[in-house]
Amino acid sequence: MRNKWTILLTGLVFGLAVVLSMATGAAAENIRIGVASPFTGDLAAYGDNIKAGVSLKLKEINDAGGINGQQVELVWGDDLCAPKEAGTVGSKFAADESIVAVIGHLCSSATLAAVPIYVRAGLPSISPTSTNPTIGDVGKGWFFRNCYTDDFQGKYLASYVVPELLGKKSVAIFYENNDYAIGLKDSFVAGAETAGLKVVGAEAYVSKTTDFTPQLTKLLQGKPDTIFLCGYHPEGALIAGQSRKLGFTGPLFGADGIDNEDYIKIGGKATDNTYLTVPFLAASAGPEGKAFAERFKEAYGRDVDWMSANAYDCLGILAQVIAKTGPDRKKIRDGLAAINSEADGYKGITGLTYFDKKGDCAKPAFVKMVKDGKFMSAE
């Protein structure tokens, strides 16, 4: 009797093992790529953009038969734009051997937390959006990005946008206390010195603040011509509104972190006369970019933003590399690092992308503005 049970049990275990191995075997045929962004929380709107961009490219790749016959599968990781969560998501991706590369993270602080984990695990990552200049040093050759860095963006704002485009001389800076905003502020201040701009004051805030009036009151004492919203759109929109309540009428300007439809939705009329630098602007893009903008609008019913465009290209770059090297973490890294000159560059909708030794790339910035409750090209 006892024997019978043992045989039955062994049989069951074996059967289960076979079924399980078949199941994982089937899944292993897909090429799995991790995508890390804030999909919930305050900055969920950014995550939506990333999802929209990569999903569009994913569909194109898989509809065309995948990469060398293998379908691509995306694994989503929600990091809430918080370094702590990014560490959790990063460890999960790194431990999952079936994931061969990561697209992300979105926020610079999140990327700075996750990249060391990827480096240790030997997992290549490519961020569509993290602009903090120090990430390249942390990445040790395993990190890439297809957006410009804040070294460039901050100086561009200080040398061109404020003095030339806006024709203004003095600036008050309002920056969020995180890696992205501090890096951007520092590079702007350095650029402002060279350009002869006067910085009348710089105030920091923590995310999730709702009342900015004490700091604004202090900044407006210096009678600035314009206010620099150095942070993300949820706070930027509130600062715009509250600065108008305190009687400030001049133009506002910000960088890529402000670029989101929600900025206008939350801030309303107060956001008019805001100028932004972005890495991709449909109106200034080449024919492929324009065609992409139309496909995007058809699929999602809204105008394309720069994050979706960069995310779309990130998956494109990975797909091109994997087609050559096969789905292997180390080989993908080598393949990405080999895209290191204009001739080898990846021609995507956001222009030509090729990486330097730190995984950074040189790309132009575009300026857009808010006018009558709509984003439009400022140039």
């Binding site: 920091a204 009036t213 700091q215 009151t217 309303g268």
Partner: protein, 298 residues
């Protein structure tokens, strides 16, 4: 700059005061720190924008309606979560309060989504944005004045209710001694419900004003506001209604000056430092009474 910071501080301080009064009243009658009170404040803001954007009500109609809904929520909170535990150890009710806070936060996330929402544009009275007074660099909009007036009216009204009405008398009696009040023929449970009704309405009003003034409404907004208001209630002496009012205003002004003159990154730290200093120097708070510990209820 001094005057403008005072204006900023009084605005947020008035809002803290209205929430703090709710904490302190409930603590007064049932010795419970109602941690779910911040969530009633959050619900007030969401009710208001829902009435405005879904039912198309004007601001002046949505405001009292949302307040009424919050008052009802306050009573429901008591009936569902706290009344069954009236005879249990105080710790049980406290943990339940924390549980209700988390539950309501998540309920709001399910109903309204987790993304921050603006107050519907163009639904506030037009004159709110206009400057009422402007001198020496101070900008006082009609919205500021509206908030100040409303805070004052509600605080004076509340004081009249507590001091002059039979209802208020019953509340004070229950706060002093529940058993004796019951023996004297007061329906204690009904008085407690009245207290939750008042606290809910005031908390809701504070939520609507914050949502409309600072223009950001999200399910987690009640947490920090609740903690700050609790600090204000402790500052004023928990259980004392005038203390909570003053505590809220002091906290708001301290925050504004701290952010304006010291470092803006430490504004939350400053408000808690003020609270800790008061607890160390005047343990009973500004208006609190020192009670000898007589009987442990646990």
């Amino acid at each position: 700059m001094f005057l403008q910071q005072l204006v900023n501080g009084l605005t947020i301080g008035g809002i803290y005061a209205m929430i703090a009064v709710g904490y302190t009243m409930i603590y007064g009658v049932i010795q419970l720190i109602n941690f779910a009170h911040g969530e009633i404040y959050m619900l007030g803001a969401f009710f208001a924008i829902t009435f405005i954007s879904v039912l198309g009500l004007p601001f002046y109609a949505a405001f009292p309606l949302a307040m009424a809904c919050c008052a009802v929520c306050g009573v429901l909170l008591d009936v569902i979560a706290y009344r069954p535990l009236r005879k249990s150890p105080r710790l049980a009710a406290l943990i339940t309060a924390i549980g209700m806070s988390i539950f309501l936060q998540n309920l709001a996330m399910v109903i309204w989504g987790s993304r921050p929402k603006p107050f519907p544009h163009g639904t506030l009275p037009v004159y709110f944005e206009k400057t009422a007074v402007s001198f020496g660099g101070v900008n006082l909009s009609w919205f500021h004045i509206f908030i100040y007036c409303l805070t004052i009216v509600m605080m004076v009204g509340l004081n009249l209710i507590i001091k002059k009405t039979r209802w208020g008398k019953a509340m004070r009696a229950v706060a002093q001694n529940k058993t004796m009040a019951a023996l004297a023929g007061i329906n204690v449970n009904r008085v407690i419900s009245y207290t939750f009704l008042l606290a809910g309405a005031l908390g809701g009003a504070a939520g609507i004003m914050t949502g409309a003034f600072y223009n950001k409404i999200e399910p987690t907004m009640g947490y920090i506001a609740g903690v700050k208001a609790f600090a204000a209630a402790v500052l004023g002496g928990i259980g004392s209604v005038p203390g909570a009012m003053l505590g809220g205003v002091v906290l708001g002004v301290a925050e504004a000056f701290g952010a304006g003159y010291l470092s803006s990154l430490y504004r939350d730290g400053i408000s808690y430092a003020v609270m800790i200093a008061v607890i160390i120097l005047i343990p009973a708070g500004l208006f609190g009474r020192v009670l000898k510990e007589t009987k442990k209820s646990m």
